[in-house]
Every structure is written in C-alpha cells, then in structure tokens.
Symmetry: C2
Subunit: 169 residues, 2 copies
C-alpha cells in the first residue's frame, strides 16, 4: 500500500519546496466563513472541485476545460483574479462555454506544467483530453502566465480553445 503512494509523495515533496508555506489556518474560535470553490474568481460561475471531475465534465459535455493555478498569498494571482472576476465578457464566455477549475495545489499530471510550476498560470484542455500547450500568453519565460493587462489576450485564447481539436480515431 505504501508503494502506490510513494510516487505521489515524491511529487508532493518537489511541489512543497517550490510552493513555500501552506495556506494559513483560519484563527481558532473565530466564526469561520465557509470556503468557496470559486475562491473569488467568479462566485456566479460553476467550478469543478478536482482535476478528475473537470476532465470528466469536459469530456462528457464536449466543452474545453480552463485550469487556473493560483495562490492566496500571491499578489500577482490576486490582481489577475480581481480583473478576471470583474471582466463581464470573460465571465460570460467562461460560464457558457467552459468547464472551470481553479487550483491552489499542483496535480500529479505533468502535462499541466509544460514549462514548470508557477502562479498564476492558465492552461486549457481540449475535451479530447489533450492539454493545449499551444495556447500561450505573451511572456517567453512563463508561457502560461497572464497579467491583469493581458485579459484581451486571455479572451482571444478562450476563443482559440473553443475551436476543438479534431480527434483522430
């Protein structure tokens, strides 16, 4: 039983060292606000909880999946989140045409980190379950990073992701 999980552990160790400290625990004894799945990226949108769920929903609905990696203490993530949540056109197309997932922790699927693990970064996955590594932002050293001023490019990339890949059978 140990063996099956050891690979996961090794990946996690690598992630933990690159992620800094885990989220702060909420203060004890203070009434806690329930955590939301949107985490501020659009409370009106429907979010998948896990990558497995998101892949299943993308495949069965034939809608592309958008995966947002972020961290709660990261100012770049927060700035992008605020712009994303306030961008009416992005919120609308996200709601209508995408399966959505935002993650604070990396998955074990290395296809979701074609040029490394950093935040914020946004990857698209075709319903054929192919990660769209070809859909990139404008930074040569961090291909899947976006800044608040890049939302026009993100929107155009969302339109690109909507053009589904042909599945070869």
């Amino acid at each position: 039983m140990m063996k099956g999980l050891l690979a996961v552990l090794l990946v996690l160790m690598a992630i933990s060292s690159s992620m800094g400290k885990p989220e702060k625990q909420a203060e004890k004894k203070e009434k806690r606000v329930p955590q939301t799945l949107s985490r501020g990226w659009g409370d009106e949108l429907i979010w998948a909880q896990t990558y497995e769920e998101a892949l299943y929903k993308s495949h069965s609905s034939n809608k592309p999946l958008m995966v947002i990696f972020h961290l709660e203490d990261c100012p770049h993530s927060s700035a992008l989140k605020k712009a994303f949540a306030n961008h009416k056109e992005i919120q609308k197309i996200a709601d209508e045409d995408f399966i959505l997932l935002n993650l604070l922790f990396e998955t074990t699927d290395k296809h979701l980190s074609p040029d490394g693990q950093y935040v914020p970064r946004i990857l698209f996955v075709d319903p054929s379950l192919t990660v769209r590594a070809d859909i990139t932002g404008r930074y040569g050293n961090r291909l899947y990073a976006y800044e608040p001023s890049d939302l026009h490019l993100l929107l155009s990339n969302m339109h690109k992701a909507k053009k589904l890949l042909k599945t070869e059978l």
Copy 2:
C-alpha cells in the same frame, strides 16, 4: 500528450458508468449561491479541495486524513451528512485532529476503493500516506459505509486513525 491522459480517461469512463448522471447544472439566469468546499458536511471546518492537497497537508501536519465520498442526489449520503454535521463531538475532533476532504468524484488512486466505489464511504489515510484499509464500518459487503446510526462507530474509528502508524525507515 494524448497518451499521458488516456489512462486517466479509461479510469474516468469506468467511474462515469458506475456513478450515474453528473450533478445537475444550476438553472440559468437565477442568482447562484457560491458552491462551498464543505458541501454541508461542516461549514465551520477547514476542507482540502483535492486529494493532492489533502495528502500534502496530512503529511506536513502529521495529522490523519479523512476522505468522505458522497453524491448530492443520494439519500444515504444526505442522511449521513446531516448526522455528521450535527454531531458536536465528531465536528470537534474533525476540526482539531484531522485533515478533511469530501469528494463527489473518485480519484485515480485505487487504494481509496479497497472494496469498490460506492457512496457514502469514509476512508482514513495515515500521515505516512498509507490508506487505513483496516479501519472499517459494520457492513460486510461495504466495509467503508456508515449510516447515521453508526456515528458512534465512526467516532471510535476516528480515534483509531489518530493512533498513527509507525513509519519504518
């Protein structure tokens, strides 16, 4: 890139056929309530979002992990959830001594389904990342199932899970 995800797809196909229809989409145009990570199992508790996150937190905090598999349209899940959320002692020990995760979708880790995939079921994972298949409920055909009347057994199993396994180095 396709290949890496094909194994996941095969697992998902198997899951989808055993899970019935996916969650209902919220009605369009109606103001949506943000989805919570607790999903009703204890709004005051801190929930991990994904299995990867939960494993990481269990290992780094040296607290056992409790994984609850459930479905929103399942009356057995709903009944157990209600009893669980209202059980003060379970909520307290869950808050203080456990990393918590509730999932609507199966993971790809078969160690979390020692006797198959069904809901509701509750598995414990030791911080050494060993799934505690030895901690079972009282139904011979569904070892990890609990009914609302079994919460005393669940509580005693939580105490069992708190006795951590010795890690052999």
